[in-house]
């Protein structure tokens, strides 16, 4: 196919309910971009300029449509006073926590909501955001998920057992985390203007591999709603939500969130491969965009032909969403994937996802 739109035009078309020339592709590439550009993965998280350049070049080389962003799953520990390490050693693929800032309930009492201008990785995220802004790309900032961030602050096992033994302490911590994310949202929107921003949120600790839907309702939902309401109120129109891993049991609460927010703004849902696209379309199809969820490990281990078939299948199912579909991967694309397999995404979008 001959491409008639730029990546930006294509993304805007989908987000505003128009038909693009072909479905856009957002492959959730982070560490892989560093590999392709032959820089250490650590630089992707520790150095805004190198990160921006690697993400941009990788997107240009393949022709996919997402723009650089800064986010990682272990977020929160450093920002609230702990310590993280950047992935510079062989085998490491993302930032990791060295010291959790909270060890006791008393630490939660003492914990101060950090100033977003100085907190942990935010200055790096801000520097990368400025590069996006200068290059007329959307600015993406991270606003969750709350429980994952709280777990990164207090150590996951400790936080999870407090959910039963000391629920008040968890609520106290979640409140501070929510307050922090709202401050982050204010910082980014006041720097660039809300219309230039997109919020990104998502987290693995919310997964039903770890917590039940009832626990999600109690410990995640109220804070998620508080943050999302505020982000929308600040004027941000697009929220990219990534319920990581298996969150099928939490689905009713994500629907409830949209209902209670009167379907305000435009959400892009990026569920894990465990949640069938048909189910997502049934839940959100009337208003929101669905991002594809091709199985991430397949990119590392399957042949090009097999990956192409998986992408084709995802497109054929996702394209039925009345409010738009973006071809995507169900979580971060494994950095060790053979480069040719990433091309399968673009090839599939061009061959099976073009609109006349």
């Amino acid at each position: 196919m001959i491409e008639r739109m730029t990546s930006m035009e294509r993304m805007i078309a989908v987000l505003t309910g128009q038909k693009p020339d072909r479905i856009p592709v957002n492959p959730f590439i982070l560490g892989f971009a560093a590999k392709i550009c032959e820089i250490p993965i650590g630089d992707l998280y520790a150095n805004a300029k190198k990160s921006f350049r690697a993400q941009l070049l990788c997107a240009e080389m393949y022709g996919y449509d997402s723009t650089p962003m800064y986010a990682y799953a272990s977020f929160g520990a450093w920002e609230f006073g702990g310590e993280i390490g950047f992935p510079y050693e062989p085998g490491q693929s993302a930032p990791y926590i060295i010291k959790h800032p909270v060890e006791t309930p008393e630490d939660v009492d003492k914990l101060e909501v950090p100033d977003p201008k100085k907190a942990g990785s935010i200055p790096i995220a801000m520097e990368l955001a400025k590069l996006c802004y200068e290059n007329k790309m959307p600015v993406v900032f991270q606003v969750g998920e709350v429980l994952t961030t709280a777990a990164n602050i207090a150590e996951p096992a400790r936080l999870l057992s407090w959910m039963i033994r000391k629920p008040d302490v968890v609520h106290k911590l979640n409140k501070k985390v929510a307050e922090f994310f709202i401050e982050v949202a204010k910082y980014f929107t006041s720097t660039f203007g809300a219309d230039k921003c997109m919020a990104f949120t998502g987290g693995p600790i919310e997964s039903n591999k770890l917590i039940s839907a009832k626990q999600f309702e109690k410990f995640v939902y109220p804070y998620m709603k508080q943050i999302h309401s505020k982000v929308l109120e600040l004027g941000v129109n697009i929220i990219l939500e990534h319920p990581c891993s298996d969150q099928n049991a939490n689905l009713p609460y994500y629907v409830k969130l949209r209902e209670e927010l009167n379907w305000k703004g435009k959400y892009v849902w990026a569920f894990g491969p465990e949640t069938p696209l048909e189910k997502q379309i049934e839940c959100f199809g009337k208003y929101d965009v669905i991002m594809g969820n091709v199985d991430p490990p397949s990119f590392q281990f399957k042949s090009f032909e097999e990956v192409l078939l998986l992408c084709k299948d995802n497109i054929e199912r996702g394209i039925k969403n009345p409010s738009g579909y973006i071809l995507g991967v169900g979580c971060e694309l494994p950095p060790l994937s053979p480069p040719i397999n990433v091309y399968a995404l673009i090839k599939a979008a061009r061959e099976y996802g073009s609109f006349k």
């Binding site: 050693e89 096992a157 039963i164 039903n208 770890l210 494994p334």
Partner: protein
């Protein structure tokens, strides 16, 4: 209260994650003259077996399991001083950890818990463990088994190296791998002696390898 009922209550306390109840029935077990080893195996470990089954069925989640673990360890603390040398025999030793570059340790901790409940002595190396550390500790501790956990396709690739080196240094040491992206086929390809899909399977495989 009879022996069977005390053991049942001990298992129940473990499932409920009720520390006080677990301690109280561990004490009762001793007072009633129940062999400490039997109380651990048919009380605490039986409770953890039920917990593990409930997790697999989606009837219990990780927060509840962590409370069960607390109850089990509290009861074991009471019971351990009463263990007779002949009833435990020689405890099999397993060196366990999450491989380099990977900090996903919740699953590994559940495996540790189940192994301890089943009577293994676990030397926990934690997470993001360098290859050399596994090898060094396996030899130094004269381990019966080395257990490697990985949750990411990016991190599991170091496993064959570690397994090969351990086998080279001491071919008698058995190796078990597990974690989301692993499979029996991959375990075989990596040269491991066993694969555990979940924590209870890890225990079964460990027992079958060293007769623990």
């Amino acid at each position: 209260m009879g022996k069977e009922e005390i053991l049942k209550k001990l298992a129940e306390a473990t499932v409920l994650g009720d520390v006080e109840m677990a301690v109280s029935y561990a004490k009762r077990a001793i007072e009633a003259g129940i062999d400490a080893y039997e109380a651990i195996m048919n009380g605490c470990a039986e409770g953890m077996r039920i917990v593990s089954e409930k997790y697999e069925k989606g009837e219990m989640y990780v927060p509840e399991i962590l409370c069960s673990a607390e109850a089990m360890y509290a009861a074991m603390e009471i019971l351990r001083p009463y263990l007779k040398a002949e009833s435990i025999g020689e405890r099999k030793k397993i060196v366990l950890g999450v491989v380099r570059g990977d900090i996903h340790d919740i699953g590994k901790n559940l495996v540790k818990l189940m192994l301890e409940a089943a009577g293994f002595q676990v030397i926990d190396l934690g997470k993001d463990v360098p290859n050399e550390k596994f090898i060094e500790m396996a030899i130094k501790e004269n381990a019966d088994i080395v257990g490697l956990s990985a949750l990411m396709t990016t991190s599991m690739v170091v496993m064959p190296e570690v397994i090969k080196e351990i086998k080279k240094r001491n071919p008698k040491i058995k190796t078990i791998v597990g974690g989301g992206p692993l499979s029996p086929e991959l375990a075989k390809l990596y040269g491991a002696d066993g694969y555990g899909k979940d924590a209870s399977e890890a225990v079964k495989v460990a027992k079958s390898l060293v007769g623990g």
